[in-house]
Amino acid sequence: MAPTTGGRPPHHLRDRALAVETHQLVKTYPGGVRALDGMELAVESGTVFGLLGPNGAGKSTTVKILTTLARPDAGTAAVAGHDVLRHPGRVRAAIGVVAQKSGADPVATGRENLLLQGRLYGLKGAACARRADELLERFDLADAGNRPVKGYSGGMSRRLDVALGLVHRPEVLFLDEPTTGLDPEARAAMWEEIARLAGEEGLTILLTTHYLEEADRLAERIAIVDRGQVVVEGTPDELKGELRGDAVHLELREAAADGAEPLLRDALTALPGVHEVAVDGRRVSARADDGAAAVPALLAALERAGAAVATATVARPSLDDVYLRYAGRSFTEADAAVGTPVPAGAAGGAR
């Protein structure tokens, strides 16, 4: 299936329940910063959807609108079937939000933070306490639950943040840059946690990230966002498949004899879906539409030509390549370009 750009929601989504749907969202901040410029999103229920883009691309602004914090200047947005402008109360009851800074009370204990959060959603007494304990247990905070949050490590407070977002069993969970600022170990633990959440029945997760690896690993579908718009959308594999294909590298046991190189090259190029074959001594490289599928055929063809293969590796194109292709600039370049001033009124840091 080909990735889609802009316009109406992808055809395959039109008949299914959408957890998040936006049309032509526009948001301009004072000072003329156009944070969103026609944002189109369609997130199917029960999936993990990644909004990927550099700082300042419009990810956080989108999340703020979808979580009823900010109002769009134009366009419509619905979450869990409720319009964010007409029924913000219904949206709030249906969503869990883990913002970049989700602000657990540092003086209160983890447990007290969870209890208060539960009460705000109408949980009461024993049921609320049970839910808090359940979440502490689940996020590996049971021992720390009765300690003030200010003593928590970065990873622990992030886990508490996610627990806070889940207290009332939301239909849609927003994770805004869930691993920014975490050390590699805590990040890996958080990824596992998110992957586990994704398996939960019916929970839709909208994840924003500027880590390519994170989106690739966690999201079933990804929208790449640049300058307030979705530039391309699809599964990570579809997006990468749009590039010229995988790189296949083979190493021969012995270098091909003089004069045998062109023969090998011709034999491999003749295979369906294989192109750009290069033979250089023991090293053979090629591009294949589907690298994994091409390997057996490549091996067999080399075998027939009398060349024994020592190793074979397939490299998938990275999302970085995808980003470069659709946004027209490299990811790191775009990320660095947003050192430009943000208006003073912008609370909550990056958008």
Binding site: A93, A99, Q100, D105, A108, L120, P148, G345, G348
Partner: protein
């Protein structure tokens, strides 16, 4: 409506927890009035000889002055807490939950009020220990506490509004240090009105800090002037409502700027 009340209580509880978890704050808030009580009490002891204080003991006169000054100086910092909650992301987190917007604001006002009331009662008790006499009895003292709570509400709400508008600690610190002493000394907190220069008395007439003092002292007198209590108390109440309204408006404009 009852949901808003319950949620207001949750928010109040949350704010008050800071005090019993970090008693140092409470202590600092109390040590300062004690020092003032002791310093001013000793320094100006003989000033009652000049007359016009309505009592021969300066401590009797001073206690309401310290109560009101403390209500002013502690409530002025409310905006710092609000600013911290904005920066930490706490306010935005609450705004994405179904909590009523009113409850979020009310929580600030109510916890502020409780804090001011407790502080006032403690100062009154300390004064009593020091030998102060309160001829107006419990009614008079209760009305003094109410007046200081209203004053605290006015300045707490304004400080919150300022915090949400400017989003800068420096501005709050600057405005507070600039305002605290002039507001206090342009009132009859430490000096009998009869002994103040005429121009100062005129300014004091429109100073809300002075309204709280006049209302409190009148109520605490042997033979209270209820007209003064009602007029100054009423004016404070109106001002407090206006300040809370203003800070609610600012809150809405904060939400628009998110």
């Amino acid at each position: 409506m009852s949901a808003t009340l319950t949620q207001t209580w949750y928010m109040t509880q949350r704010q008050l927890m800071v005090y019993w978890r970090q008693p140092v704050f409470l202590l600092i808030n109390l040590i300062q009035p004690i020092i003032w009580l002791f310093l001013f009490g000793s320094l100006f002891r003989k000033v009652t000889d000049l007359g016009g204080f309505g009592t021969g003991s300066y401590l009797d006169y001073l206690v309401p002055g310290i109560v009101v000054m403390s209500a002013l100086s502690s409530s002025m910092w409310a905006g710092m807490g609000t600013l911290e909650e904005i920066e930490r992301g706490t306010l935005n987190r609450f705004l994405t939950t179904p909590i009523s917007r009113g409850a979020l604001m009310n929580g600030n006002v109510v916890s502020q009020g409780i804090g001011t009331a407790v502080q006032s009662v403690i100062i009154v008790a300390l004064g009593k220990l020091g030998g102060a006499d309160y001829p107006g009895g419990l009614t008079g003292l209760a009305l003094l506490v109410v007046a200081s709570v209203l004053l605290g509400t006015v300045f707490g709400a304004l400080s919150n509004a300022l915090g949400m508008l400017v989003r800068q600690r420096e501005s709050i610190i600057g405005i507070n240090t600039f305002l605290l002493l002039p507001l206090t000394f342009l009132s009859e907190a430490f000096m009998a009105p009869a002994l103040m220069p005429g121009w100062m008395r005129h300014i004091a007439d429109v100073n809300p800090v002075n309204w709280a003092l006049v209302a409190g002292r009148s109520a605490m007198a042997d033979d209270p002037d209820w007209g003064d209590v009602a007029s100054r108390g009423g004016a404070l109440l109106v001002l407090a409502l206006a300040a809370v309204w203003l800070s609610t408006r600012t809150f809405r404009s904060y939400q628009r700027s998110v």
